[in-house]
């Protein structure tokens, strides 16, 4: 390997990321070649400059703020899923209650609104219609 080829591998050699065969060529070359030795030294110096930069440290309350934010996130997610699920449940429950109550006239909420139509037989269209209207007005 010539000096140009050696220098292209010096970065990986510095990081111990070369295979044994290549490393075994580079080490002895650096020892006997002043130019490559100087080049290698400069590369290590660059790493030293970067490593020597002051380490950025978080404030003392950073961890507690992050944990609090995470707990708020999970609480909100829990509330949202509860609201969505409970909303679905309420709608389905209401639908089935309305359907089942059609088959039990008089056993559910007051059918006062049907007094005018008391001659409507159960399960007739008029009976069902006013039953639903009556339930809707009561918020069921």
């Amino acid at each position: 390997m010539n000096c140009s080829q050696i220098r292209r591998k010096l970065s990986a050699f510095m990081d111990n990321e070369l295979d044994h065969e290549t490393s075994s060529l580079i080490g002895p070359h650096i020892e006997r070649c002043p130019e490559c030795q100087e080049y290698f030294g400069k590369l290590k110096e660059m790493d030293g400059l970067v490593y020597g930069l002051p380490k950025i440290e978080p404030g003392p309350d950073f961890a507690s703020r992050v944990v609090s934010a995470a707990m708020r996130t999970s609480a909100v997610a829990g509330d949202e899923s509860f609201s969505f699920a409970s909303g679905i449940k309420l709608a389905v429950t209401g639908l089935f209650e309305a359907i089942f109550s059609l088959f039990e006239p008089g056993s559910g909420p007051s059918t006062g609104a049907l007094d005018e139509f008391s001659d409507s037989p159960p399960l007739s269209m008029s009976f069902i219609y006013f039953k639903l209207v009556d339930q809707g007005s009561r918020g069921y």
Partner: protein, 180 residues
């Protein structure tokens, strides 16, 4: 070799807040250091670091240990930082941000020794001139001592690409300081 952080992540997946706090304390320094040096803005870096940890918290139940936890964490951080850089570029703020001295360097903190301040003044502009992927590779290698394979997983490139990125980053820095 068992990943020492795997048990923590599994506990976080079971909503163990103590485990989450332990993970945060373990990685808050390295993460904040990496993001700050990468994007050059301490204030935004703290927000990004918090966002990284929140993403970890949400994703912990789905973590499948196909990679080391540390690699996973830095990958999320790198992606967040890239998104921020992209956002700033779109607003044409990046050049000003990169040329502007970092918050820690705009005025020398009274507690910071003169030599360290001068070092930061020297190296920060040189780092800022590196392409994003070279800078990321160099920071991860020098500060976190990650292997080429780990760096490749974080940056989404091959080991050979990592070798090339580091070679070019170091020679670019060398050329910069040879001229100054």
């Amino acid at each position: 070799m068992v990943d020492p952080d795997l048990a923590l992540v599994e506990a976080i997946g079971r909503c163990d807040h103590k485990a989450f706090e332990s993970l945060v304390k373990r990685y808050q320094g390295p993460l904040l250091n990496f993001i700050t040096r990468y994007i050059g803005d301490r204030r935004i870096a703290e927000d990004l670091a918090q966002e990284v940890f929140l993403r970890i918290y949400r994703a912990a139940p789905r973590f499948q240990a196909r990679t080391k936890v540390s690699t996973w964490i830095f990958r999320i951080a790198y992606n967040q930082a890239l998104t921020e850089i992209g956002r700033r570029r779109r607003h044409q703020d990046l050049r000003e941000a990169l040329c502007r001295r970092s918050e820690g360097g705009a005025e020398r903190p009274p507690s910071q020794p003169a030599a360290r301040y001068e070092l930061e003044e020297e190296i920060a502009p040189a780092l800022a001139r590196l392409p994003d992927n070279q800078k990321a590779a160099l920071l991860l290698r020098v500060n976190e001592e990650l292997s080429y394979r780990e760096i490749g997983e974080i940056l989404g490139v091959s080991v050979q690409s990592v070798e090339s990125l580091l070679f070019r980053a170091r020679t670019s820095l060398k050329r910069y300081f040879d001229k100054t």
